[in-house]
């Protein structure tokens, strides 16, 4: 998986959690929280969906790494790929 694909997977999750938000112009380097109305509970939902849909565990200490799309891609892409290698 490329970083772009990873960002798409994250956007797909956000669009389910927050169907009322416009996600077409998300800036990858800006904190999601500053562009969307997401609270800490919504981030918990993102973490839960990552686990349910993709089998990816994000420990609580790493939540700050999900701040922006870029940081998500940086942090999650190796996890997606690690999973692909294992399976």
């Amino acid at each position: 998986m490329t970083k772009d694909e990873c960002k798409k997977a994250v956007i797909a999750i956000i669009s389910d959690i927050a169907p009322d938000e416009d996600l077409s112009n998300l800036k990858p380097d800006v904190r999601l929280r500053d562009q969307l109305q997401l609270d800490s509970m919504d981030f918990l939902d993102i973490v839960m969906e990552l686990r349910k849909r993709h089998g990816i565990e994000v420990p609580e200490a790493d939540y700050p790494k999900l701040a922006s799309l870029d940081s998500c891609a940086e942090y999650l892409t190796p996890k997606f790929n690690g999973l692909a290698v294992k399976s």
Binding site: D16, P19, D20, Q37, S40, M41
Partner: protein, 479 residues
């Protein structure tokens, strides 16, 4: 005694709050089971059929309605956190509602889902109160409903802004009738919440009433992997060292759970482990509410608008000099109440309800209805039905009103005893205990309240109550 399953979470009651908590928890992978002693879900917001006709029990209108794109609202949070599609709820907006004080000719304030109408009505009917009203509205907008907020009397706060007692009563009347477990007053935080839900947001209804909402929630819950045991209540909770150690079901089966949510009311929940008495008595326990209602439902072969009801969706009426929101001495107080006309939601040009429905709710006294012999109970219902209908008709304002009363083709009436049966609330107290537990905490550390006695009311409010409590006590306890 048989020892049964172990769940991550057990929920008592399959009403809107219990189902919503269940969806949230099951979605997060928790092993959840809801126990409901009735065969149908919904609790207060359930429905029943008589001769093939479906009657909703609680639902007048869904409050908290906002149009798509409005952010940061209760409805938005419910849709998000339960992963509901707004269209699945199929909410249709009200046409118009009124607060009518004094029968024909008395002051009346119309309101719709556009707040501007109420503002201009207040300015027109109470010309000297406009500024105070605006400042009160600002205060309401700034008020958030939190467990940390100090308790304030809504009457006192309104009085700081609005000098005219009639306007003060008119503004208080809607939140009182739509959610106060307390007589003649309510907590200002709760007033603000209901004021926002009704006036700043708005009223709506699914075409088919409560049933599609319940279907949707039950379906979501099942798909998320939640279990449900209908027709199976919880008989008692076994406490040990300040925690729920086990639950004993009505079947005698014993089950265990890490967390228990109870939507059945604060007093009713404590009775499950204290045997009705408070052990030790060091801590004042929750108090059972006494505010309850009767409601008449009349079905007609024509639209209510043809019988003098015009476009009114709900009418909050009162003809006393000062509004008295209290348990009446007699069985019913017909001087004030709420009229609801489900036909007058805007279902679109091609849809109308098959029959006309007029519902009227009035304050009632539980003790005067309880313990009556069957015959007297039926006779009293019949007598009050007529009186309530006649009282309500005085507040018609549509063309041709007051209309000739058409003969109802069917009717039903519920009393405080009916409410008690559906909700399990003592005294048939629709809005539960006058003291709410906003944090959801109980004397047992892993037992949490959700629903009416947690303090969020209405259809959207109860769903939000289940969601918030699930988040706060299980999913994100540190957040």
């Amino acid at each position: 005694m048989k020892t049964g399953a172990h769940y991550d979470v057990v929920i008592i009651g399959a009403g809107l709050s219990g189902l919503s908590a269940g969806i949230r928890l099951a979605h997060f992978g928790r092993r959840v089971c809801i126990f409901e002693r009735h065969n149908a879900p919904g609790g207060l917001n359930s429905f029943y059929s008589i001769a093939g006709r479906k009657f909703d029990v609680g639902l007048h209108a869904v409050t908290n309605f906002v149009r798509p794109g409005v952010k940061g609202t209760a409805l938005g949070r419910v849709l998000r956190q339960l992963r509901l599609d707004r269209d699945e709820l199929g909410l249709c907006e009200q046409r118009q509602s009124r607060i009518a004080f004094g029968a024909r000719g008395g002051p009346a304030l119309r309101f719709t889902n556009d707040f501007g109408l109420l503002e201009s009505e207040v300015a027109a009917v109470f010309p000297h109160q406009g500024g105070g009203f605006q400042r009160l509205v600002s205060r309401v907008r700034e008020t958030s409903f939190s467990p940390e907020a100090p308790a304030l009397s809504a009457r006192e706060v309104i009085g700081e802004y609005v000098g005219d007692p009639v306007l003060a009563d008119m503004l208080l009347c809607v939140p009182l009738f739509y959610g106060s477990a307390q007589e003649n007053d309510m907590d200002f935080g709760q007033f603000a919440l209901l004021f926002q839900a009704v006036f700043l947001e708005g009223l709506a209804r699914p075409f088919e009433g409560i049933r599609p909402i319940l279907r949707l929630l039950v379906d979501k819950y099942r798909k998320a992997g939640g279990e449900r045991r209908m027709g199976c209540g919880v008989r008692s909770i076994v406490p040990r060292e300040g925690r729920v150690a086990a639950l004993v079901l009505e079947t005698g089966e014993e089950i265990q759970a890490d967390h228990v949510f109870s939507s059945i009311g604060a007093v009713e929940t404590e009775a499950l482990f204290a045997g009705g008495d408070r052990a030790g008595g060091q801590r004042p326990g929750p108090v059972a509410g006494r505010v309850t209602f009767v409601e008449t439902m009349a079905i007609y072969d024509r639209e209510p608008s043809e019988m003098g009801w015009g476009n009114d969706t709900t009418v909050f009426f009162n003809d006393s000099e000062r509004l008295e929101y209290a348990v009446p001495e007699g069985q019913v107080d017909v001087r004030s109440g709420v009229i609801c006309i489900p036909n007058n939601f805007d279902f679109g040009p091609d849809r109308r309800l098959p029959e006309g429905i007029v519902r009227v709710t009035c304050l009632a006294n539980y003790d005067r209805w309880a313990g009556l012999p069957e015959e007297a109970y039926s006779a009293d219902k019949k007598r009050w039905f007529g009186e309530i209908q006649a009282s309500a008709r005085r507040f018609q304002a549509g063309p041709g009103a007051p209309g000739t009363p058409a003969a109802a083709i069917a009717s039903d009436m519920f009393t405080p005893l009916t409410v008690e049966r559906f909700t399990g609330h003592r005294n048939g107290a629709i809005y539960g205990s006058p003291t709410k537990s906003l944090s959801g905490l109980t004397p047992l550390s892993n037992l949490h309240l959700c629903g009416t006695d947690q303090g969020l009311l209405g259809i959207i409010g109860s769903m939000l109550s289940g969601i918030t409590m699930a988040n706060r006590h299980v999913l994100a306890p540190e957040a």
